[in-house]
Symmetry: C2
Subunit: 155 residues, 2 copies
Amino acid sequence: MTARFTVLALLSTAYSASFAGQIEDQIRFRQSAYSFAAWNLAKIKNQVQHPDTFNKEQVGAAASAIAAIAGSDLNSLYGPGTEQGVGWQKTRVKPDYFQKPDEVKKLAEDFRKESLELVKLASGGDVAAVKTQFGKLSQTCKSCHDSFRLKDVEE
Amino acid sequence: MTARFTVLALLSTAYSASFAGQIEDQIRFRQSAYSFAAWNLAKIKNQVQHPDTFNKEQVGAAASAIAAIAGSDLNSLYGPGTEQGVGWQKTRVKPDYFQKPDEVKKLAEDFRKESLELVKLASGGDVAAVKTQFGKLSQTCKSCHDSFRLKDVEE
């Protein structure tokens, strides 16, 4: 299928009750989720590294975006057939992802828990506390990458 | 730059206080945001079209994701130089986007307002009300596409 994707094309299609989408769509959606998370992580990192720029509303909004991503059931985008394939780019998921559902679930819960804690701390405006929690959240990203993401793939 | 993108690469780079990122990154991040929104819109559409599958927690989570996207200052991803370029794919933004900031702002506020209303209604569990509000939210997407997105571009 074409790399182009439009909301209208998506919304004009009929879906099964257990909507997940075509293989390419699932891979593209999950890559989009992580990329959107990365942007929001970068915004927070920038502010905790430059405390004079710290804005608790902006950090809270970014943390809320990450928490929403973490709470959006990303695992449903790893359906049958998505072990390999191309979304925006070739997937880097390791076969282990599909063989260790308990570990996946635990890491996903850690991601969600630490992102929710960051949302809570952001509203308090204590930069040091936000920075520490940001480190914990980033660690959950890294743990999942170490376990389930290939370092790189051939295009 | 390569189409590959990793959180670690992003997080290991120093950023200015007004972080936005390179042109290609900005375009890729905004495309990721819209694509992630599209997935969440599709999940809600599927449930309101099949009321027997309606799950207010799932619809609420999807609506919250859309509201977080709408509240994430996407406009900051339309920095100088992003009128043209390639993120995940060639941008389809129209020149008008950069010439009509008041209209952009109004449409962005509509998007945010209607998504927050959907979050509120989802928790009530009234499928008909959620369906109506989903229509209003979708209309804000369409209005922005009509005004500011090219129907298609040559690759």
